[in-house]
């Protein structure tokens, strides 16, 4: 099979618009959680979220006008605008702007979302009820469909290769990276623009996840403390929004054009829990099997891993189950591996989480730095694994694994490795 490398990165996150500002703030141990100001939260149990800061672009704020015409922004939910921004950044970063028909046809898109246009669906349902079907916009459907993030990116950049989208809840981003890498490995494309985008922060989104007992509710007055994976006081995840997009490329294609190569995607594993719609299987077997499959694909043993970017959402059940699965996987190698949850800083970006976290795993390799798990004051269980509490650490990272698990019992693990020069 052909080898696949990462040549471009793009991101919109609660910590800033762009990969570098986000990464800098993560290494500084900052939190993107804040009080929700954009809608009424008085009757919601959760009043905080990791929101993307909108603005004119100064101080790393997100200026949507830079990425999409205002007349088009009106037609779509924010996940599409976030996806357009992250994809535009990633293509610029990779310096890949296909102009020939051959290059366009060799470049595809695979940007997924967990939920897609939730807000537009909710608003339009109210409009339909109050004012009738003649007031429903012709852009209602195309502005809400999950694969329209890929669709808009494909149209904007003339990408005529595979035009696909993943929908696997909170493992969407990781599945997109893994599946897109496989399309390249198998020769369906030479370049893929892959990742995830999500815009779930709304009254209906908060109400829905509150009803599922998934969100933190006890830190409304101290939002920056709410996302605290592995800590004994954790009480649910903090919802985030944004997008992460990677440019994946066949190794020789990247070398021929002299592209800067961040890392190689060497392993990808998938599994299903077959247990429960929202709860992970208590034995952690699903995560264990997806990590094992990724290692097998990579031809590595657990002791080859230097850093794991955990799924670690800060829910009471999930964190310890994943930790148990990782301990089982690592065995005696546990003490030499660092594992952190960057969701402690970014919150949980649902379908975009796996994509931004694959990017953090790649940056850990680039900078030989592991990001911290902030707010980890009192771990709820003892472990030999370094969970990197509070402060980032400099340490050699050549191989990194990123886990993402989703509702429906779906699991994905992606392994990236420094490319030997």
């Amino acid at each position: 099979m052909r080898r696949v490398v990462v040549t471009g990165l793009g991101m919109v996150s609660p910590l800033g618009c762009g990969v570098e500002p986000t990464w800098k703030r993560i290494l500084n141990g900052e939190s993107g959680a804040r009080r929700i100001e954009s809608f009424d939260v008085s009757d919601l149990q959760t009043k905080i979220a990791c929101t993307v800061v909108r603005g004119d672009g100064s101080n790393d704020s997100f200026n949507p006008d830079k990425w999409m015409e205002p007349k088009d922004q009106r037609k779509v939910d924010d996940f599409i605008i976030f996806g357009m921004a992250a994809a535009g950044q990633a293509l610029d970063d990779a310096n890949w702007h296909p102009e020939t028909e051959e290059d366009k046809c060799a470049t595809g898109t695979m940007i997924g979302s967990g939920i897609g246009g939730l807000n537009g669906i909710a608003d339009t349902a109210i409009l339909l009820k109050e004012r009738g079907p003649r007031r429903v916009s012709p852009f209602f459907i195309p502005g809400r469909l999950i694969n329209l993030a890929s669709g808009y990116v494909s149209i904007a950049h003339g990408l005529k290769g595979p035009n696909h989208a993943v929908v696997t809840a909170c493992s969407t981003g990781a599945h997109a990276v893994g599946d897109a890498a496989r399309l390249i490995a198998l020769g369906d494309a030479d370049v893929m623009v892959a990742g995830g985008a999500e815009s779930p922060i709304s009254r209906i989104g908060i109400a829905g996840f509150n009803a599922a007992r998934a969100l933190s509710t006890g830190f409304n007055e101290t939002p920056e403390k709410a996302s605290r994976p592995y800590d004994k006081d954790r009480d649910g995840f903090v919802m985030g929004e944004g997008a992460g997009v990677l440019v994946l490329e066949e190794l020789e294609h990247a070398r021929r054009r002299g592209a800067r190569i961040y890392a190689e995607v060497i392993g990808y594993g998938l599994s299903g829990d077959a247990y429960h719609i929202t709860s992970p299987s208590p034995d952690g077997n699903g995560g264990f099997r997806s990590m094992s499959a990724a290692l097998k694909r990579a031809g590595l043993t657990p002791s080859d891993l230097d850093y794991i970017n955990a799924h670690g959402t800060s829910t009471p059940l999930g964190d310890e189950i994943e930790l148990g699965a990782v301990e089982r996987l690592l065995g005696n190698a546990a003490s030499k591996v660092a594992m952190s949850s960057t969701k402690s800083s970014t919150g949980h970006l649902l379908g975009a989480a796996g994509a931004i976290e694959a990017i953090f795993a790649i940056l850990a390799i680039r900078d030989n730095a592991v990001p911290p798990t902030i707010n980890l004051d009192n771990p709820s269980v003892a472990t030999a694994i370094d969970l990197v509490p509070h402060k980032a650490k400099q340490r050699e990272v050549n191989v990194a694994l990123s886990n993402s698990f989703g509702f429906g019992g779906t699991n994905a693990s992606v392994i990236v490795r420094r490319l030997a020069s």
């Binding site: 015409e69 205002p70 007349k71 003649r134 007031r135 916009s137 012709p138 852009f139 195309p142």
Partner: protein
């Protein structure tokens, strides 16, 4: 330009994101102002909203230019 003409022009500028100077009576929504078929559906909905009238599909199909819209609405506008 009539008051209705000015209101039509404002809606077209907002919805299609075009320069106001380009929104002249004989400008075609699709050929001159960059609209696609979905944009024209939405434009008609916006005219209905602004002028408090219903524009049936067969009438909507004859509204191809800014002038067509103004002429139709000068006859049928309720608000």
């Amino acid at each position: 330009m009539s008051d209705i003409g000015e209101r039509v022009k404002k809606i077209v500028v907002e919805h299609l994101g075009v320069e106001p100077e380009k929104v002249v009576d004989n400008a075609s929504f699709i050929d001159d102002l960059g609209a696609d078929s979905l944009d024209t559906v939405e434009l008609v909905m916006a005219f209905e909203e602004e002028f408090g009238c219903e524009i049936p599909d067969d009438a909507a199909e004859t509204i191809l230019t800014v002038g067509d819209a103004t002429k139709f609405l000068e006859k049928n506008a309720k608000s």
